[in-house]
Symmetry: C2
Subunit: 401 residues, 2 copies
C-alpha cells in the first residue's frame, strides 16, 4: 500500500476543481409554476408594457390637472362626475373639460385625464365633485410601461428565478420558459465492506451512508443525483461503473476508506482521463481525489462519512453550484465566539463541525468515521492550515448546513 | 368605501399570526432518498449498533496490547501474522497469544485483539511482525456502538433532515420513514382587473402576478401551493372559494387593491370565522388581513405585488415555517452599511427591498405597485416604526431572499 503523493493545500484543490468544471449548457422548458429556484437560460425581453395602461394608484377622481391649479380649501374646483370606472373596467369615453371620472386603485385612467385626486381632498354631492387641492400633472398615475417597458431587457440569461422574478414572468404573461437543466450527478459508492441500505448486513459490513448523505446534499444545491450500485474495489469495476456513468455532468465517488482502495480508483481514472490531484491538506478528508474524464469532473470523496460530507460542503457544493449556474454563496456565514479553545494540526486546513449553544460555537467533531459528528452539527467552521489553535471567545465564521 | 380600522404594529400582527397557526400533525411515509429537507415525524431509536463491530480506524495489525507494553525502538515485540482481514471480511479465528492479524481501515478487529498498531510503527518480514511502539488497550479501534448505540434515541421527532441526518438514517439501514406532510397552502388571487397568465389581456386588465410569486415562495419554505382561480370581488364569490379551499392548512388571499374589495373579504371572513386584524402599520403592505376559519389561518395579502411579496417574506414565511415545523430562521442576516441616506415614515414599520453593490446596501424600492422593485432586490432590510431616517453608512441587517 503506497502512500499518497504530497498533500495539496485546500485552496489549490478548490481552484483546480473550479477550473475543471464548466457551467451546464443543456436547457429544458419548464412551466411558470415550476420555475422557482431554476436558472433562466435565455434573456427575457418584455413582450408588453407593464402596466399595460396608465393606472390609478389610489381611489379618487381622474381630472385634467390644469383645471385644479387654482383650487384651495375655500374655493374648490367644481367638476361634473362623468362616469365611474372600477378596476378591470375601461372608461366609455375620454374625459371632457369640466368633468372628472371616479377611478378605483388599479383602474385605467381615462384619456384626457392627467392626474388622480384622492377622495380625501374632495367632496361629492351627486354628480357635483368639489376638489380642494391643486393636482399636478401625473399625480397618482403609474404611466403605461412605467414598471416594465415593452422591448426592454428584463432578466438576463443566468438569472436565478426567485419568487419575485417568477412574478416578473407572470406580469409578462409568460407560461413556459427555458431554464438550464439540473446537472445530473452520478453518486457512486465503493468499498467491499459497504452494503446497500435495505440489504441484510453481513458480519463485517456497514451500510452505505455516503451515497444518501451526498444525494441529499446534491439535491439541496440544484443537482439531480443518480444513485449507483456499490462498486467493487477493482480497476475493472471502476472502469465499468464509470462507463455506466457516462452522460453525467459530474461524478462523485465515495470510499473505500484505505489507501489501497484509492489506488484502484486512481489507476482506473488515469486510464480514462487525467488525475488532477490525490490527497489534500485538509482534516478531515485527506484522501480526496480529483480527475477529469472526457470533460467531466470526477470527485473521489473519502469513505469516512464525516470526511465525505465536510468535503461535500467544502468542495463538491461550490463545484456543483458553478455547474448548475447557481450563485456562489448561498448563505452568508454568521460570526460568533468559540465556546472553548480549539487546537488544529499545523499544515492541514480543518473543517470543524460545530453547533451553536447560547450564541457560542461548540465543536462536535468525534472522529471522521462517526456519522453522528455531522448529525449533531448545525454547520462548520474552517481553520486555515497555518493556525494551530483558536482561543475561547475567538470569533469564527459559522457556515450553516 | 370605509377606511380600515386603526393600524396594528407589525410585531403585534406577527404575534397574532404565529399565535393562530398550529404546527402540522399530518404525517406521510417517504423513502430515504426523498427524506432530505423533510421533518421527522416520529423519534428515531437506533435499531442496531454503529459500527456494528469493533472497527479498525487505521491500516495496521490487530494485537493484544499487553504484548506490546515493553516494546521499543531497540527491542520490538515480535508477533506472528495469523491472518489478513480486509474491509468487509471477518477474521476466521480469534487472536491467540503471540500473534497478530493484519487489518484494513474499516475491517472488524478480531476477538482477542484490543488494539491496532499502525504500519508505520511496525516492520514485517513474511509472517514475522516487529512492533516498535507500545500500544494502549483500545488504540485505533472504534468500539462496537461507539458512534450510535442500539436502543439509543438518535433523532427527535421534529428534526429537520439535513444531509448528515439522512446519513444517520442510512447508517441504521432505514429505507422508509414517517415525516410531517408538507402543508397544503391555498393561493387565491382576487380582483376584477386580474387575469390568469395565459389568457388574453383585455383592456384595463393585468396578469395575476401574486399567485405565482407566492406559490414560488411557499414551495421554497416547505409548503405545497395549490393555485386557485381568480376570485370575484363579491361576498358570495369569497364564500364559495373558501368552501373550495377547505382542507387546506393555510389560505393566502391576494388583492384586490382597493379598500372596497377588502371589505368584501372582511365581510365573508367574518361570516365564516373570526377576523383577527385588518390593516397593519407597515410600508408597503398596509391592507393586510388575518382571520381564522375553522381553525385554519387565512392571510389576506395586498394586491400590489411588492406589498404582497414583502409581507410574504415578513409574515407568511414565518407562519408557514411554524406550520411546516421548519426551523424559524433560515438564513442569518448579513450586516452591511447603507450606500445612501434612507428616510422612512414614522409610525410605519418598513420592509425596504435592497441589493448589495460593492459591499454597500442600495435600496431598490420603486413603489408598491412595481413588480420590478422586488425583481431587482436581492433581499430586504426592516426599518422599525419609530425610525425616521438612517444615515449613509449606517449598518443594516440584510435578509436575503
Amino acid at each position: 500500500m503506497r502512500p499518497m503523493r504530497a498533500l495539496l493545500p485546500v485552496e489549490e484543490a478548490k481552484a483546480i476543481i473550479l477550473g475543471a468544471v464548466r457551467p451546464i449548457e443543456r436547457t429544458e422548458p419548464v412551466a411558470l409554476d415550476a420555475a422557482g429556484g431554476r436558472v433562466l437560460a435565455a434573456p427575457l425581453t418584455a413582450s408588453q408594457d407593464v402596466p399595460p395602461f396608465p393606472r390609478a394608484i389610489v381611489d379618487g377622481y381622474a381630472v385634467r390637472a390644469q383645471e385644479t391649479f387654482a383650487a384651495g380649501q375655500s374655493r374648490p374646483a367644481v367638476l361634473r362626475l362623468a362616469e365611474v370606472v372600477h378596476a378591470g373596467e375601461e372608461a366609455r369615453a375620454a374625459l371632457v373639460p369640466g368633468c372628472c371620472v371616479q377611478v378605483a386603485t388599479g383602474a385605467p385612467v381615462p384619456e384626457g385625464a392627467d392626474a388622480v385626486v384622492m377622495f380625501e381632498d374632495t367632496e361629492a354631492d351627486g354628480e357635483r365633485v368639489q376638489v380642494f387641492k391643486p393636482a399636478h400633472p401625473g399625480q397618482n398615475i403609474a404611466p403605461r410601461g412605467q414598471d416594465i417597458a415593452a422591448g426592454a431587457s428584463i432578466l438576463a440569461a443566468g438569472t436565478l428565478l426567485t419568487p419575485s422574478k417568477v412574478g416578473v414572468l407572470a406580469a409578462l404573461g409568460v407560461r413556459e420558459l427555458s431554464v438550464y437543466a439540473r446537472p445530473r450527478v452520478a453518486v457512486i459508492p465503493s468499498g467491499n465492506e459497504v452494503v446497500a441500505v435495505g440489504e441484510p448486513l453481513a458480519p463485517g459490513r456497514i451500510y452505505d451512508v455516503n451515497s444518501h448523505a451526498l444525494a441529499a446534499l446534491v439535491r439541496e444545491h440544484g443537482g439531480h443525483p443518480a444513485l449507483f450500485p456499490i462498486m467493487k474495489d477493482t480497476v475493472q469495476s471502476v472502469l465499468d461503473t464509470l462507463r455506466d456513468a457516462r452522460g453525467s455532468d459530474l461524478i462523485v465517488l465515495s470510499g473505500g476508506s484505505s489507501v489501497g482502495d484509492r489506488d484502484v480508483m486512481v489507476e482506473a481514472l488515469a486510464r480514462l482521463g487525467e488525475v488532477k490531484f490525490h490527497g489534500i491538506a485538509v482534516r478531515p478528508g485527506k484522501p480526496t481525489l480529483c480527475a477529469v474524464v472526457e470533460g467531466t469532473l470526477v470527485l473521489g470523496m473519502p469513505g469516512n462519512p464525516t470526511s465525505c460530507l465536510t468535503n461535500g460542503y467544502g468542495l463538491l457544493v461550490p463545484a456543483l453550484r458553478v455547474l448548475a449556474r447557481l450563485p456562489r454563496v448561498d448563505r452568508p456565514p454568521l460570526t460568533l465566539p468559540l465556546a472553548r479553545r480549539v487546537t488544529s494540526p499545523l499544515g492541514r486546513h480543518e473543517y470543524l463541525p460545530v453547533k451553536v449553544v447560547e450564541g457560542h460555537v461548540v465543536p462536535v467533531f468525534k472522529g471522521s468515521g462517526a456519522i453522528t459528528s455531522m448529525a449533531d452539527a448545525e454547520g462548520y467552521i474552517e481553520i486555515p492550515w497555518n493556525v494551530e489553535f483558536l482561543e475561547r471567545g475567538h470569533p469564527v465564521d459559522v457556515r450553516f448546513f
